[in-house]
Amino acid sequence: MSLKDKFAGCERIVSFGCSFTFGDELSDIVRPGPFHDVDHKKPSNLTYAALVANHCEKPYLSKAISGGSNDQIVRLLCNHIRECPRDGIVIGWTSTIRTEYCGYELGHQTFLTGGDYRQAVIDKPEWGIFQKAHTEIMLNTPREHCLDTLTRNIFLVQHTLKQMNIPFVMINAFSDFPYRKNDLVGLDFHSPQSLYEWSESRLYAKGPYGHPLDEAHAKYAAELIRVYDEKTA
């Protein structure tokens, strides 16, 4: 079964992930000028996920969020698949050192270890307290534990999608996770390398904020489709 066949019965293809899956710095959403700012309300249609949807001839919806964390991906995904079980899914897992919190009357916010989030702190001082506490916890947590936790999350999400007969494709956007090859046993990763590392190893251009640009996404999507179709032929 080809990738296109896999998603044939879906109403849409919906993506979940961080800035890589959202499409930060891609040409269709970047604002003119040297700083590559993007409108974070308008996801790109040039990401690997959008191009997979395009290849499968399905409408595309991006639920990825710049700066998103893996627990945020799980939250949005669980809520979505219960409401829209006929959508196919693309997941771009992200860095293991980010965590999402939900502050009292503040809503959700993801924090990166050591990040300052100065603007958020100015707007809402409580976020500064979350940031400090998150950094304290992560500095005392072995990196291996973060990777183990991600492995278990992927295992649970994968089985849940299978149980609900929801077609899916999973990749890593960026992290050291793909190098723990033993952990990949039994996990349906559809790319042996993360988008970031794959792009770096092939010297594709990156934006000022480090995101792979249009060409990398296009080639990565083509590779993803090729590898999937070859494996399942």
Binding site: V74, R75, C78, N79, R82, Y101, C102, G103, Y104, E105, L106, H108, E126, I129, F130, K132, A133, H134, E136, I137, N140, T141, P142, H145, D148, T149, R152, F155, L156, V157, H159, T160, K162, Q163, M164, G186
Partner: protein
């Protein structure tokens, strides 16, 4: 009385996951006479979970541990089912205000919000940070996160063809937002959790607040009846 028995009929064993209530803290077969403490290496065979296994005629293995948090239960469960086929599973979900961390100095540590316990080293730093986070966190979202966790575990067990039975052991896990239905957590009447049920029915408890032998025996009988 047959249905629960049938559910687990093809299992090699029944394995339980949970906190002190599922471990069996203060139950008569493991309490150390005179000092009201239990041997934490020897789980009880008088818990609701052990009695259900007995009812089903299956060997019983307890992987619950006193003080466990829900993410610890999930960790131990996922690691178990990834490496052991053929076991049935009983899960006693616990308080949502506990969280397991893995500290560089002390390994896995379940931390209860506001705990007076001070172990020293990096555990105390994490305890302090966790208390700060919980003090600022939205309670309904913590409950929603718990429900998502149960949803994922339940779907995974179904997909892997693993028979299971899930209960709540503590009351603060019982708030289920209306939008999250379809969780297979057994609810005995209006009581929501084992602890609430035992309290309302005036069963005796140990010095540390755990329901004792009679409560476990009657709760197991109730579950078997409700399930059937």
């Amino acid at each position: 009385m047959r249905k629960l028995h049938d559910n687990f009929s093809k299992c090699n064993r029944i394995v339980s996951f949970g906190c002190s209530i599922t471990f069996g803290d203060e139950l008569s077969d493991i309490v150390v006479p005179g000092i009201d403490r239990v041997d934490q290496h020897k789980p009880s065979n008088l818990t609701y979970a052990a009695l259900i296994a007995k009812h089903c005629g299956k060997p019983y293995l307890c992987k619950a541990s006193s003080g466990a948090a829900n993410n610890q239960i999930e960790r131990v469960l996922v690691d178990h089912i990834r490496s052991h086929g053929g076991d049935g599973v009983i899960i006693g979900w616990t308080s949502i205000t506990r969280q397991e961390f893995h500290t560089k100095q002390m390994g896995f540590q379940s931390i209860l919000a506001g705990s007076e316990y001070r172990a020293g080293g990096d555990r105390d730093e994490i305890q302090q940070a966790y208390d700060t986070i919980l003090g600022l966190s939205e309670y309904p979202e913590m409950t929603a996160a718990f429900n998502r966790q149960v949803f994922l575990v339940q779907s995974t067990l179904k997909q892997m063809g693993i028979p299971y039975l899930m209960i709540h052991t503590f009351s603060h896990t019982n708030y289920t937002p209306a939008e999250f239905t379809g969780l297979d957590i057994i609810d005995i009447g209006k009581y929501h959790s084992f602890y609430d049920w035992a309290t309302t029915c005036s069963y005796s408890k140990g010095k540390n607040g755990h329901p004792l032998d009679a409560a476990h025996a009657d709760y197991a009988a109730k579950i078997i009846k409700v399930y059937g």
